[in-house]
């Protein structure tokens, strides 16, 4: 049984009262009268920040936390997002004073310990990638994609092939792929997938031309299917003069089993918050690492973190004339990189390989069991083994009972499980994308499948039950259309609306 906590928790602004203090910061004894801000730039009304005492701040956020759901609360089989356990020791090391209180501009000789860790992480990730060089500057997966594509563009420009501005990607790709392509000023050439979910080789060949900058492809793809013809694809793209980009979102499936560099890829990004266990934080911060081969190395963002073996000294290298420049104010999310380093160290090589194996085993087990529930069918080739995830289609259920994939997802929330990724990839219909990760044991998976089956039984008997799900979550089914029509985006807007006599819930 699952009952998420529910409070009628006021806005924090509604809880305060003038004169309450929750924290006393250090305060110097200088004469306040000495402050001289130019008259016309003087602030006249203080910002309306909350005024509470410490205990009340604590209660507000603890109550809000009770109305939230994390991987430590229960099963979170969110396809494409790799929600794995966030080891607590990672949090402990990241809270070391020797990590937290490091200014990015302090002399590099005072940051040798951290630079050593970042350097070693770069080497380990390059090794896992089957490539040679790494940057940790990209603070998120999309930033990694932007960086990798910029490297490809820079390569072509540098070789006098400025006309190469097309990135080919299958219609099953992650939404960030096309968005990152366009942000790089390149054009997306979307190619249709085959029936079985794999890239259509003929479509790929037809898409290639002297305008091709590269192919962007995650492997295994978003249906959880390995693109077995990757070597041939890589040849086709390479013959056309293009390069290959690997979206590492699905890397958890293949760690140590097959390396993107060996498949023919030139560049990739890893999501440290997916494969390497750092927390998702309710949306971030994550971090990405971009690995590439010698072809693309000259263009990596500045600075790179390099090691002078003779002097046993780690340093920032800004002397990179062909670099694409900077993608972050500093060196990316260093505190996230430290967590990923701890994760890799804790598992070692064999542990990482076991991780991939268990992730693939649990995914196949869960998907093959779910597939047997009346109303679901598997998307993509029937007999192909899945990797870290699999996609089910709830089309038969929708047709027979008027209950959608989203309705089933909401029903499963009522049971204390997080929903899968729904309606993605776009090539599947009523998609239910399930990725349990190595974090789920067989017993949990059995309970999960049983709960899905039971909820679907209830929906068969009473479709309205499904339409009104979830129950037992902090709030019932959300009408997000209301938010778009009314746009109450801040307390300021809320106050304006109330002053104008408008109703705000």
């Amino acid at each position: 049984m699952y009952r998420q906590a529910k409070y009628d928790e006021p806005l924090i602004f509604e809880l305060g009262k003038k004169g309450r203090r929750a924290h006393l910061p250090p305060r110097c004894d200088f004469d306040r009268a000495k402050i001289k801000i130019p008259e016309k730039l003087l602030r006249t009304t203080p910002p309306e920040l909350p005024e509470l005492h410490e205990g009340e701040v604590m209660r507000h956020y603890v109550r809000l936390s009770h109305m939230n759901y994390g991987i430590d609360v229960g099963t979170y089989p969110l396809g494409s997002c790799t929600m794995k356990y966030n080891p607590k020791i990672n949090e402990t090391v990241a809270r070391s004073e020797k990590m937290m209180y490091m200014h990015p501009n302090q002399p590099e000789e005072t940051a040798q310990g951290l630079l050593e860790i970042m350097y070693e992480l770069q080497v380990a990730l390059a090794d896992l990638a089957g490539l040679k060089h790494t940057t940790l500057q990209t603070p998120a997966g999309a930033s990694g994609e932007y960086c990798g594509l910029a490297l490809i563009k820079a390569y072509h420009d540098d070789h006098g092939e400025t006309q190469r501005n097309e990135i080919i990607a299958p219609d099953s790709s992650h939404g960030t792929n096309p968005a990152s392509t366009v942000m790089n000023g390149m054009k997306l050439i979307e190619i249709k997938s085959q029936e079985d979910g794999r890239v259509d080789m003929d479509a790929l060949k037809a898409a290639c031309s002297d305008k091709t900058a590269g192919l962007m492809l995650t492997n295994p793809n978003t249906l959880g299917i390995f693109e077995k013809d990757i070597v041939e694809m890589s040849g086709v793209v390479r013959d056309a003069g293009g390069l290959l980009y690997y979206d590492g979102a699905n890397f958890n499936a293949i760690i140590g089993k097959v390396r993107p560099g060996d498949m023919g890829y030139d560049v990739l990004h890893f999501n440290l918050h997916k494969t390497f266990s750092t927390p998702h934080g309710g949306g971030g911060p994550g971090a990405a690492a971009v690995c590439c081969n010698d072809l693309l190395e000259p263009y990596l963002p500045v600075p790179t973190i390099d090691y002078d073996k003779a002097k046993d000294y780690y340093y920032f290298n800004y002397d990179r004339p062909k670099s694409i420049g900077k993608l972050h104010g500093y060196y990316g999310n260093a505190a996230i990189a430290l967590r990923a380093y701890a994760y890799i160290t804790a598992l070692g090589y064999k542990g990482l390989v076991h991780t991939a194996e268990q992730a693939v085993l649990t995914a196949n087990y869960a998907v093959r069991k779910l597939e047997k529930i009346d109303g679901f069918r598997i998307a993509g080739g029937q007999d192909i083994p899945r990797k870290h995830e699999g996609v089910l289609e709830a089309t038969p259920f929708l047709r027979n009972y008027d209950v959608s994939g989203m309705d089933i997802a909401k029903m499963i929330l009522s049971r204390g499980f997080h929903a899968p990724t729904v309606y993605f990839p776009l090539i599947a219909h009523e998609a239910w994308m399930v990725e349990p990760t190595e974090n789920e044991n067989k017993d949990r998976l059995d309970k999960y499948v049983e709960a899905v089956a039971e909820e679907m039984d209830k929906a068969r008997a009473d479709p309205d039950y499904a339409h009104h799900a979830p129950k037992w979550t902090a709030v019932g089914r959300i009408d997000s259309g209301w938010s778009v029509r009314n746009l109450v985006l801040s307390y300021k807007i809320m106050k304006e609306k109330l002053e104008n006599g408008e109703e705000v819930p």
Partner: protein, 461 residues
């Protein structure tokens, strides 16, 4: 199955579980699930990684490496540049460790994620209170990427492709801006600063500003700490020609200074690590702010996630949800306003906690301390013949004229380090010698400030 599996704390299944699942799938070996991968590309080597480590060994190994670092708790930091040393109250970290928050994904399932959503809406609201704007997104990566996103947004809103920006924005933000706009082919022009005052050259800015310009980026106080107090004319002109005004503000300064919305900014950006988002963390994770004046059309050009108030379908209760999602990559793909997906949500929550703890009084207190500490140091130095490079009014940052030659930089750094001081951010005006951009946080006491002055004077001898 690789041999020798004996279980690991991060792996959920025992050999027995594994066997049962394999039996269900009708396979004898996990390898069968990889059988579709061509043999020619399978990895057969050994990765160059060590064997697993126990938690104790791991902790000790990382501690040993990190012990080589010297922190801003061991050495007094006079460095800012867009990030700042802060104190994180015990309760803040206690709340950040609420696993319901940090082990959650993006709140795409709002019914089960009200905690994240409400706290992000409250964060957006606090940013609006501080900047005077009325809509803020729930985070970008950092201030530098916010400059890039703001330029792209101004271009989308105005459908123009030229963007002008102050040269007094510091090298990092300028570098990221340059990178971000290449794909959109925006033409950039930098507005020089007056070498005497350190303020943006208004006359030059006016020359660059015409009806082909999408937006103008101004920092206030700027990278050199200088308060830009003559902006009326240029902001009026920008609006006359239909350009958008983007102000990059030191968010601490806004405790004392007029919010950008009140003097004509359309968009306000900045770095919220400095107002309590989190510790320095060697420059990441940070917390990029992007806020604007609400406009039914223009707000749809904002990048990143935005949380709005909404209602539940059945009961009509107040609730929170991601809104205006049709701007985002997971819906719009190549037509999205930005590629950003994972952002800095937990740091935004952390910042909201910090601001809730400070309240308006604490927020003002810390800003006043920063201001007065910086002015104390500047005044003492000036009394002893070390002049500021720019004579204008400043907040908590100023530039001192040390002109340290390239080959003496290390010597200077070591000299200051012996006195337990990080002297500031080295900044080269001529490419040959270094001046220092000096910033005070609210964590330095009077003795620290006086030690700094003493050390600089000693070096000068």
């Amino acid at each position: 199955m690789t041999k020798g599996f004996k279980g690991h704390p991060y792996l959920a299944n025992s050999q027995k579980d594994i066997d049962e699942m394999m039996e269900y799938l009708g396979i004898n070996d996990i390898e069968d699930l990889y059988s579709d991968i061509p043999d020619e590309i399978r990895f057969k080597g050994e990765l160059d990684l060590p064997h697993y480590k126990s938690e104790y060994e791991l902790l000790e190994a990382i501690k040993a490496k990190l012990s080589k670092n010297i922190t801003t708790r061991e050495v007094r930091s006079f460095m800012g540049g867009g990030v700042l040393d802060i104190y994180m109250p015990a309760i803040q970290d206690e709340l950040l460790r609420r696993t319901e928050f940090y082990s959650a994904y993006t709140p795409y399932q709002p019914e089960i994620s009200q905690g994240t959503l409400q706290s992000l809406w409250e964060y957006q609201s606090m940013i609006c209170e501080i900047t005077g704007m009325n809509v803020a997104n729930c985070s970008l990566y950092d201030w530098a990427t916010a400059v890039g996103e703001a330029a792209l947004m101004a271009a989308r809103i105005t459908k123009r492709n030229k963007f002008i920006y102050t040269a007094a924005a510091g090298p990092n933000r300028e570098a990221v801006l340059k990178n971000y706009v290449t794909g959109a082919h925006l033409e950039l022009a930098s507005i020089p600063y007056d070498p005497a005052t350190g303020k943006m050259d208004i006359a030059k800015a006016k020359d660059l500003l015409d009806d082909t310009v999408a937006g103008i980026y101004i920092e206030n106080p700027n990278f050199f700490g200088i308060i830009e107090d003559e902006l009326d004319e240029i902001i009026d002109k920008a609006h006359e020609v239909g350009a958008r005004v983007v102000i990059g503000a030191d968010l601490n300064s806004l405790a004392l200074m007029k919010p950008p919305a009140e003097y004509g900014a359309d968009i306000c950006i900045g770095e919220a690590q400095t107002i309590g988002g989190g510790p320095l963390n060697y420059g990441g994770p940070l917390l990029g702010v992007l806020a604007m004046k609400f406009d039914r059309r223009d707000t749809r050009q904002m990048p990143g996630r935005i949380v709005g108030i909404t209602i539940t379908s059945n009961e009509g209760e107040r609730a929170f949800a991601n809104t205006l999602e049709t701007r985002e990559q997971h819906i719009k793909r190549e037509r999205a306003t930005s590629n950003i997906c994972t952002n800095e949500a937990l740091i935004a929550l952390s910042c909201a906690v910090h601001l809730s703890l400070l309240g308006p009084e604490g927020y003002k207190d810390t800003a006043e301390t920063m201001y007065l500490s910086a002015h104390h140091v500047a005044e003492e130095l000036e009394n002893n013949g070390v002049k500021r490079v720019f004579g204008s009014e400043f907040f908590n940052t100023f530039v001192i004229d040390l002109k340290i030659p390239k080959d003496k930089k290390k010597e200077f750094t070591d000299f200051m380090l012996e006195r337990k001081i990080f002297p500031g951010i080295p900044y080269s005006f001529d490419g040959e010698t270094f001046d220092y951009v000096v910033t005070t946080s609210y964590l330095l006491c009077e003795e620290d400030l006086n030690d700094y002055v003493k050390a600089i004077l000693e070096w000068r001898k």
